[in-house]
């Protein structure tokens, strides 16, 4: 028996706000799927949220994906934010030098009905 990596992704779109919810693991073996989901979600989005609340595990490859999205958002002018995950997941951000209060993180994704996004 073996712990296997698996990732399920869900994309919700409201207006120009995209929310990608990740369940499972983002690691080397599931990286491609995660990238593909972000590619789709990013198209025509004014704001992109990556919801990590249901994420079990992430390694440096996932971190790299997030740092890359950060750069892309800064260059293209859309908002990119990560919905805080479990303590284990957030530890990874900590090791990578992200402050807990870094503006990258939000507590929850914007509600489906639109309106302002919660900090």
């Amino acid at each position: 028996m073996r712990l296997t990596s698996h990732l399920s992704l869900n994309l919700r779109r409201t207006g120009d706000v995209s929310v990608v919810r990740a369940r499972g693991d983002i690691d080397l073996s599931t990286l491609a799927e995660a990238m593909a989901a972000l590619d789709t979600a990013r198209e025509g989005a004014g704001a992109l949220f990556l919801d990590l609340r249901d994420l079990d595990f992430m390694d440096t490859s996932g971190l790299r994906l997030i740092i890359e999205e950060q750069r892309r958002a800064a260059a293209a002018g859309y908002r990119f934010a990560v919905v805080r995950g479990s303590r284990k997941v957030q530890r990874l951000f900590e090791i990578a030098g992200f402050a807990a209060t870094d503006e990258l993180f939000v507590e929850a994704p914007p509600p489906p009905t639109g309106g302002g996004d919660p900090a």
Binding site: M1, R2, L3, S5, D27, L28, S29, F57, D59, T60, S61, L63, R64, I67, E68, R71, E94, I95, A96, G97, F98
Partner: protein, 663 residues
């Protein structure tokens, strides 16, 4: 025309002996009426003959020819009257023509042979002063019986000769060579294509030659290259009454050396007793088709041989052997080495040496019929060698088609050699690179003890994205452990960049943060996002006070073991290569004798087990009370090995340093 002659002769017989005027008509089996002859005796004959020849009898006339044909019975007009003439005439002009004949009497007789009316004879007298009576009618009937037979035979032979003519026309224009011979005997017919095929000036020349003489003009071989004699050919079998299978032969004209591929087909013709009386040979020239087939096959087989192995000396020998004897009697491949020396790397067939041996043996000079040399070259690049082909024994000659084929072969050989070279080069580069990326030997640091462990994930178990390094710097020693995000060749390249940048910067600057800043800048210059996490420790020891300055960049914290208790140390900071500027914070640790510092990569923590990952807690527990670096490393290796389920995706690197007691 056979028929024309017969008609003329018949009418000469009839006129003037029996008649002054006569016309002869044929009726075809389909009922078509045709006037085939007319003869008139006396002045103005040509004009009257022509007029009569053009004339057609009026079908409904109750007298004369029409009546004879309709009733299939002869009839006589003893005294030709104007009324008769009017009945027979089509119009006034026709009436005048008939009157001009000055007919006094006339007989009209259907010609019947083999049960059908084959024609009609009309005879008339007048200008000679004679008259016809019943006796003349009888005579005319007897005469016409003979005439009918003669006409019928002539008609048949006309039909046959017409057939013959068509056949001859067909055979003359046929592209295939047709030869008809008597079994074991002379050739009785040949068409112009046959003459061309045999290299003779005309079909007549062919007919006058014997089969043996003709065979003597050529060397004939079967598909495998074995020589053939006349007895082996289908023609001889057919001559014995046996239907032989078509045979493909390679035919070389002795006088010119020209080579053709010919398909021989032979069919016997039997007489009434079932004996073969003739053999019909049809010879088809398949040279173009066959050569195209052979060329394709040669190129395909050469392609297989060339791609079967990278040892091109071996494969080139195979190619040379393929070219003989199909393309030439001898083939050699020469290659120019990097030193400029041209070397023969493959040879097949009867070549210079064999020829030289023969010349020495016989004392006679020998002239090789042809040598064809093509470059081994790929478009746009200088030639790397040559392919030589020669004709020695077989008496053949090279032509344009051979040149094209040889060039194509040379091109493919050149590509194969080039590929082999590139592969060898790449292999060498890969091997050299790999060697440079392997974890270094751990040096002896005075006052410290080291142990390390490295495990690359995946199939290429030599090189991964993790690295460690230990090197002396001004003021101390640096120990680094790092992790490149990603896998494969790109990651390996970054691994190399990272190790050497840190080493160089460290040796120059002697400061961990400065070294990290250098690497950060170098990574920022890379195309795309290149992230590397590093833990960098500077060991300084002066007079019994050993310290470690440690800096983390996107890396999990090393564990400081004091009296067996592991404790994570360090301040988290961003990955290298992520941001333009980073704040990396050093932590200075006093190291007492027996203190250990365990540096590792996240591959340890992320190791996949049955239900979960290895994790930091488990690592801490594993290291508790470890007695020294070697034991610490062994414990980690064993614990991770035991814990891991299935193949792991991330690399693992561990390096442990212990401060030794002062001696």
């Amino acid at each position: 025309m056979l028929l024309g002659e017969t008609v003329a002769r018949l009418l000469e017989f009839v006129v003037p002996v029996f008649a002054d005027v006569a016309t002869l008509d044929t009726i075809s089996p389909e009922g078509d009426f045709r006037r085939i002859g007319s003869r008139v005796e006396g002045p103005g004959r040509e004009e009257l003959e022509r007029a009569l020849l053009r004339r057609r009898p009026v079908p409904e006339a109750p007298v004369g020819l029409p009546r004879a044909l309709a009733s299939a019975q002869s009839n006589l007009i003893e005294r030709v009257s104007d009324d008769n003439l009017r009945a027979l005439a089509a119009d006034e002009a026709d009436f005048e023509l008939l009157r001009a004949l000055e007919l006094r009497s006339a007989v009209f007789v259907p010609l019947r042979a083999r049960g059908r009316t084959v024609g009609a004879l009309a005879c008339g007298v007048g200008t000679s002063g004679r008259e016809y009576g019943e006796a003349d009618l009888r005579f005319a009937e007897v005469l016409s019986a003979r005439l009918a037979l003669a006409l019928d035979n002539a008609g048949l032979s006309a039909a046959v000769s017409g057939l013959e003519q068509r056949l001859e026309a067909t055979l003359t224009n046929l592209a295939e060579a047709v030869l008809v011979r008597e079994p074991g005997g002379p050739i009785v017919f040949a068409n112009p294509a046959a003459a061309r095929l045999l290299g003779l000036a005309s079909a007549a020349e062919v007919v006058s030659a014997t089969a043996e003489q003709l065979m003597g003009l050529f060397d004939v071989f079967d598909e495998r290259g074995l020589p053939l004699r006349l007895d082996d050919l289908p023609s001889t079998h057919a001559g014995r009454g046996v239907q032989a299978r078509p045979m493909l032969v390679r035919n070389v004209i002795r006088s010119t050396g020209e080579q053709r591929w010919l398909l021989h087909k032979a069919t016997p013709v039997f007489d009434a007793e079932g004996q073969p009386v003739l053999v019909v040979n049809v010879i088809e020239d398949l040279t173009e088709v066959k050569r195209a087939e052979l060329a394709q096959r040669l190129l395909a087989e050469a392609g297989h041989a060339l791609s079967s192995s990278l040892d091109y000396r071996d494969t080139l020998q195979q190619v040379a052997e393929l070219a003989v004897p199909g393309l030439a009697d001898w083939c050699a491949v020469l290659v120019r080495g990097d030193d400029g020396v041209i070397e023969q790397v493959a040879e097949a067939g009867v070549g210079e040496h064999a020829v030289a041996a023969e010349v020495i043996g016989t004392g006679d000079a020998k002239l090789l019929a042809g040598v064809l040399t093509v470059p081994l070259a790929i478009a746009g690049q200088p030639a790397i060698g040559a392919l030589s082909l020669a004709i020695a024994e077989s008496g053949r000659q090279f032509d344009e088609t051979d040149l094209v084929l040889a060039r194509e072969l040379g091109h493919r050989v050149a590509m194969a050699i080039e590929n082999a070279r590139l592969y060898a080069e790449r292999s060498l580069i890969a091997t050299t690179l790999q060697r440079s990326l392997l974890p270094p030997e751990l040096p002896d640091i005075p006052g410290f003890r080291l142990a390390g462990f490295y495990q690359a994930a995946g199939e290429q178990n030599d090189v991964g994205g993790d690295f460690y390094d230990v090197f002396e710097v001004p003021g101390g020693w640096m120990v680094v452990v790092g992790d490149v995000a990603g896998r494969g060749a790109e990651a390996a390249a970054l691994t190399s960049l990272s190790r050497y940048t840190l080493r160089t910067a460290g040796k120059l600057l002697g400061d961990p943060i400065a070294a990290l800043e250098q690497l950060n800048a170098a990574l920022r210059e890379q195309p795309g996002l290149s992230l590397v996490s590093v833990c960098c420790v500077l060991l300084r020891g002066a007079d019994g006070d050993a310290v470690a300055d440690l800096v983390l960049a996107g890396h999990p914290p090393p564990l400081h073991l004091r009296q067996g208790v592991p404790r994570p140390v360090g301040v988290f900071a961003p990955f290298l290569g992520a941001y333009e500027r980073g704040e990396w914070t050093p932590v200075t640790l006093g190291l007492e004798p027996g203190d250990q510092l365990v540096l590792y990569t996240d591959g340890v923590l992320d190791t996949v087990g049955e239900r979960e990952r290895f994790g930091e807690e488990r690592l801490i527990e594993t290291l508790r009370d470890a007695a020294g670096p070697a034991e610490a490393v062994a414990r980690i290796e064993e614990a991770v090995g035991r814990f891991a389920e299935g193949p792991q995706v991330d690399d693992t690197a561990v390096i442990v340093v212990e401060r030794l007691a002062d001696s």
